[in-house]
Every structure is written in C-alpha cells, then in structure tokens.
Symmetry: C2
Amino acid sequence: MVPHLTTALNGPLLTLEKRMLASMPEIEHWFRQQWLDYATPFYASVDLRNAGFKLAPVDTNLFPGGFNNLNPDFLPLGIQAAMSAVEKICPDARRLLLIPENHTRNTYYLRNVAALTNILRQAGMDVRVGSISPEITAPVDLDLQNGHALHMEPVQRKGNRLVLDGFDSCAVLLNNDLSGGIPDILQNLEQTLIPPLHAGWATRRKSQHFAAYNRVAEAFAALIGIDEWLINPYFSTCGEIDFHAREGEDCLAANVEAMLMRIRAKYKEYGVEQEPFVIVKADAGTYGMGIMTVKSPDDVRDLNRKQRNKMSVVKEGLQVSEVIIQEGVYTFESIEDAVAEPVVYMMDHFVVGGFYRVHTGRGIDENLNAPGMQFVPLAFEQPCSMPDCGGAPDSLPNRFYAYGVVARLALLAAAIELQEQDPENQH
Amino acid sequence: MVPHLTTALNGPLLTLEKRMLASMPEIEHWFRQQWLDYATPFYASVDLRNAGFKLAPVDTNLFPGGFNNLNPDFLPLGIQAAMSAVEKICPDARRLLLIPENHTRNTYYLRNVAALTNILRQAGMDVRVGSISPEITAPVDLDLQNGHALHMEPVQRKGNRLVLDGFDSCAVLLNNDLSGGIPDILQNLEQTLIPPLHAGWATRRKSQHFAAYNRVAEAFAALIGIDEWLINPYFSTCGEIDFHAREGEDCLAANVEAMLMRIRAKYKEYGVEQEPFVIVKADAGTYGMGIMTVKSPDDVRDLNRKQRNKMSVVKEGLQVSEVIIQEGVYTFESIEDAVAEPVVYMMDHFVVGGFYRVHTGRGIDENLNAPGMQFVPLAFEQPCSMPDCGGAPDSLPNRFYAYGVVARLALLAAAIELQEQDPENQH
C-alpha cells in the first residue's frame, strides 16, 4: 500500500523526475565527487514534502529516531551501510557506546534504539546502550511491549571517558540531539563523539543547514538543468525574537510578507492555484514543537497567549529566540484520505530505507511531526536505489529514486554545514 | 529450499560457527583493519566446500560470472556495494566499458553480463558492453531467451584507448579472465583496467592465491582461536609438468602421497572416517577443465591418453604446464540427493549474495564446476550479513554468515595476491 499523488499539478514534478532519471550517471558521479570533498555524517533522516509540482526537504535530523519504522526487508542495506559508516568514521572501534535520548518512557523511541542497536550489532560492533538520564541509576531492561526488552545501563564518567561497567569504547554514538544543551558529562571527552557535539541543537541552526542546502541545490539544479526552486524551499531568518515580549514581530511579519510574494510569483509561473503559506519554526530544536503555519503577515501579529506560549518553548524547555521562516510545501501524497509525508533514512551516504508519516487529523499544509501526533508509519516497499528507467517517471521505483536523490542533497548540505560549523575550522 | 548438511561429523564445524558468531565484533574489526592495508578487488566470487567438519574456499574468481544466479531480492545490496567499489577504484568515472568473455553464444553467460550491467547501471554508471571477440563486427542485440536482449558492440582501439562509437570511458571493467593470454588490443592502455591485467589467468596462479590465503587463514585462526586447517585446504605445487610427455609425474605422485598423509592425520585427529582425496588442477585457468580427483599416488601415474588430454588443455587452448595439488574437501551439503556447493559473490568488500551449484550427476568428492556441468543455481534465500546470534550455530542465517566470513578471507587473500603480483611492486 503506497500513498497516491493526489494533484493535477504534477507536470513540473514529472519533468523533475524525468530529468533525474535521464541524468542518473551525472547525478551519481556528482555525488561521488562531493563525498570526496565532504565527510559524510554517520547517519541522518530527512523529512521530505512532495507537492506534485515540487519535491523538497524540510528538515534534516542528524540524530535520527524511527529506525524501527523501516521495512525489515531492507535491514541488510542498513547493515552494509553501517559497516561503511564505521569504516570511515571509527575503523579502529570494536565497541560502541550508544547514548539515547533521556525520554526512557517512550516505547516507540526505545524500539528505535533497539532497531538501531540491532543494525550496528549485525554490522559487527559490540554495542551497549548507556543512558545519561538521571532516572537510570542501575542497569534495567525496558519493556518494548513487543515481546522484547532493551537493556540500558547508567553511563559513568571516569576522567575524560564515558564507560559502562566493564565496557570502555573508543567511540560514542549519540542518538540524543542535545536540545536541552550539552550536559557536563559530555563535555571535553577524549573519546570520538559521533556525530560531533556541534551537530546537536545546543549549537546547530536550521538556517545554517538551509544556507548550505541553497548552495547544494543551486549546483545540483545547474547540473541537471532544472529550476532550483523545484527542490528548494525559500527561507529567511529574523535575528532574536521574544514572542512573550512581542519583540521582533515586525521583522517576522515583513519576512513572511516578502516570502509569500516570492512564492506567489513562483506559483503563478507554474500555474499552481493553491494558496502560498510559510512555516515559522524554531531555528534550533526538533520534535515539531514551536511550529506555525502562516498564510498572512497578520497571522504572526495577532498571536494569542496560547500561541505565544507554544512558540516560546521547544523540547526540554529550550527558549525560542531565533526562528526560521521557511516556504511551506504542500504535501499532496495521501493514503485513504490521510496525509502522508516521506521520511528517508541514510547511513554513511547510502539511503537505507524510509517510511511515510501518515496522519489522518492534519491538513496538507501542516507539519506532520508535531506534538501528540499519532502518525502511522508506512515503511517504503522498495529501496530508493532501484529506479526503473523503462518505467513511467511517477512509477514507484522512480518516485523513490527521486526521494533518495533529494534526501542525499540534504545530507550533503548537512555535511557542509558540519564542516563549516566545526569549532576546529573556525579560527 | 535450502541444502541440508548430511553429515554426522559436524562437531568441529558447529564449533567453528559458534566461534565465529561469538567473535563477530573481533572479526569485523579485524576485516576493517585489513581493508585499510589492502585495496579490495572490484568484484569476486568464491567457491566454498562445506564438509561439515571443515568449511574452506577452493577457488577465487576475480572475473565472476553468474550474477544472474543471485537472488533478485538482494539486488539493492549489489547496487550499494557497486557504488562503494566505483567510489574506491574509479570515483571520477561516469562511463564504464564492460568487456565480457568472447563466448557470445553462451546464453547463461550473456545473462550474467546483463545482470552485472544492470547492477552497475542502477549504481549510476553509464555502462556499455564492448566485445573483443572477432565474431562481433557490428552492434548486435543478443537474445537472452528470457524476453530480453543484450546489446553488444565491437570494441575499437584508438591510440591507447578502447572506445565504442560515441563512447569513451575513463575506466574499463573486465569480465574476461584472459585465459587465452592478454590480447594485443588490451596491451598498454591508458585507461584504468578493472581488475588489472595481472589478475587474469595469463599471469595469475592459484598457488599464489593460496599462498596468500595461508597467511590470511593463519592470522584469522589465531584471532578466533581455531585450528587453521578447519578453514584452509592444504596445497602444494610441482613446477613444470608435461602430461603428454609424462614429465613431472614423479614429483606429482610424491606430492599427492605426502598430502594424503597430512590429510589422513587430520582426519584421524577429528575422527573423520571418509577417505582423504586431493584435487590436481591447472595452476592457471578456470572453468573446471583440467581437474582430477585423486585418492592415491597411482592415480596420477597411470593416466590414459584421454585423461592426459583432459589435463593438458584448459580454456581457450591454454597449455597446462603447472598444476596445483590441493586438499580435496568433501561437500556434505545436498538437496534432494543432489550435491550442492555454495558460491559467494562480493563487490568491493561486501558480500552481495550467492547461490548453490546443485548437481545430480556428481559425487561429493568431485568438482562441481566442470565442463558440461548442468548445475541448477539455487539462490541464497538470505543475505550473508545477518547472523542470528540467538539462533543455533547451524541455523540458516548463521551458516550463511560463516560462508560470508570465509569468502571474505579468500577475497582478502586475493587482495594481497594482487598487490604482491602487481608489476609496479616488483622492483
């Protein structure tokens, strides 16, 4: 069962997919060149939106959850890619300490940790899960409510190393996005941290990612001869904003207005009849908190207290002071009247699978990764690496190939962003 | 449907598989270290023999055919591994000229070329098939008798480059093992040849491969604490032999006798009751021509004219002058009373699949890759990368993991052999 594209406006996207298929050798060659210049992140997931006329990344997660939602048939792909990732980033490592998020009561998240651990073990790593949550004070088996349990131990700091009882690893894999800041226990470690600390939301900014994506999308669009806009959502930023004190609202309203105008012009160029919208969200942070769908500058002027509260706090109480204003991309994929949004998973620079977030209670212009969201994961039925060059551009293998290409563009942007934001490169 | 191990003598093999499973992090770590030191071949297949008490490689093919026999479900694994192989060996390449064997009337072989081409195309290469056979004088579509055709063009030499009409590639992939010597058209090319010419049977020797394998097996056996013999067949060589002139027979007989004694001692040590045997085969060449099963020194003294003819000529008329005497390994896998021999396929250093050669008309002590052999390929039902650490050591995923490990040991030996035999390293 696969979502249908429910739009008549699929002309430009068909063109885009056709162009990608025809340019496949150039595209793969180009990616190979890029990966000679930029170190690939260990892993990542990318949220895509498919508007029929436009296919674009809207979020790139460098601490991906949701590995439990991938199609188990593609597990060997993940194992092989994990082997490549380990080879590149920590070839000397035999053991891997995996540090998950602190929300140890979220069974879905814990299943993700179990699935990720399984992939890494099958890739030949000796993996143990160590929590930095104050709630984990002794080894515990957490029930995954699927007949399995996840063994978790409290992390101990010894000098500048993180260890578990009888387990000292030369590499530490973070599956914790540091939204709450970098805890002391992770500071000044002598072990290799994967991804590095500056990939966490304590320092990372979406606007830096999308600034890098601008350059990636521009080069890629030139490579295959397309309008960059077809794969790239506009974005802008507004410096410091205090929603409670209503500081920065004018800047926000002006940016929203300017962006709506730019989108309107593009919609006119491509004959798109939908109403343009923008998304205002925290420049740091994840989990879909602090996100607004905005269709008019007035929408950001007349926020009520509840909306202001919502925008002021993201995960783990991090204050929103910087926001990113991003072009909204409609999602015109749906399944049984529910809106569907593809999420693509990568390890090293390989696409290892993906799934659809399927949500019945949300509109086509709303963020599907939102608090309280009850999405149904729908694993991709096919890998993203097998286009059917004889098939129609919108046939399933070809749509998935296009997803894989755009997700890898976002991955490349993340690689550039991480290199540029690396404190060691900032002198 | 999977072959059964039909032997009571599986104690040592179970021990071996158990040891491999328990040592998986050490094994994968060790392989990572090796691949830092040795360049992995682009692709290879390894013939294994599973005697229940012993699991060993008996032949390593650096120009593998048979890609058409792999399970199509694992195609994504091949594509991903091909991407890695291209990245490492020819990252600049966009186009790839594939040069197949000259036997353009063997439909099974042509299907292999088509399957290999498909994998490389899906990995993003612009691939065309160019033949060096004098029979191919114009572009032709060869019927694969499965509803598909393979487009083949005559290769042209322009200066020091091989080209097709409108197609000049920076890399040339050989699927031709050069058994008939290195043709002039392949000499002194400025393009990158993959694998290099010295991987071809014009210069390659099985004894060099197994000499390298001796060192690999010794190091690996020490790593996981097993008797090296459990994964390594004895071998020796005898210099020049002329079967027609009956020169070198004494040396051969003496070597056979000595090896049978060594095997007998090991069989005694492990309580194996089968009769030891050795295989005498051409030190260069493939295709299972020029192969004898020998159970007594007398077997090589009293060759009749027909046997001498058979041993004197291998593929494309290459004269046998050097032979390798190799410990015979029983194959105790069978399916519906037919003997089965696993063949494992690798691209870069990843196992991408495999199949069983299943042969009803052959004995458990005979070579299954023989002229006129009507084998039935039985694709592996599972990849070799997913051991079930909770399962029994002889469960299917675990048997396949052991196959993948031993095949990769042979691949590593090939990498060492190619590095040592590289003319550029021989000053």
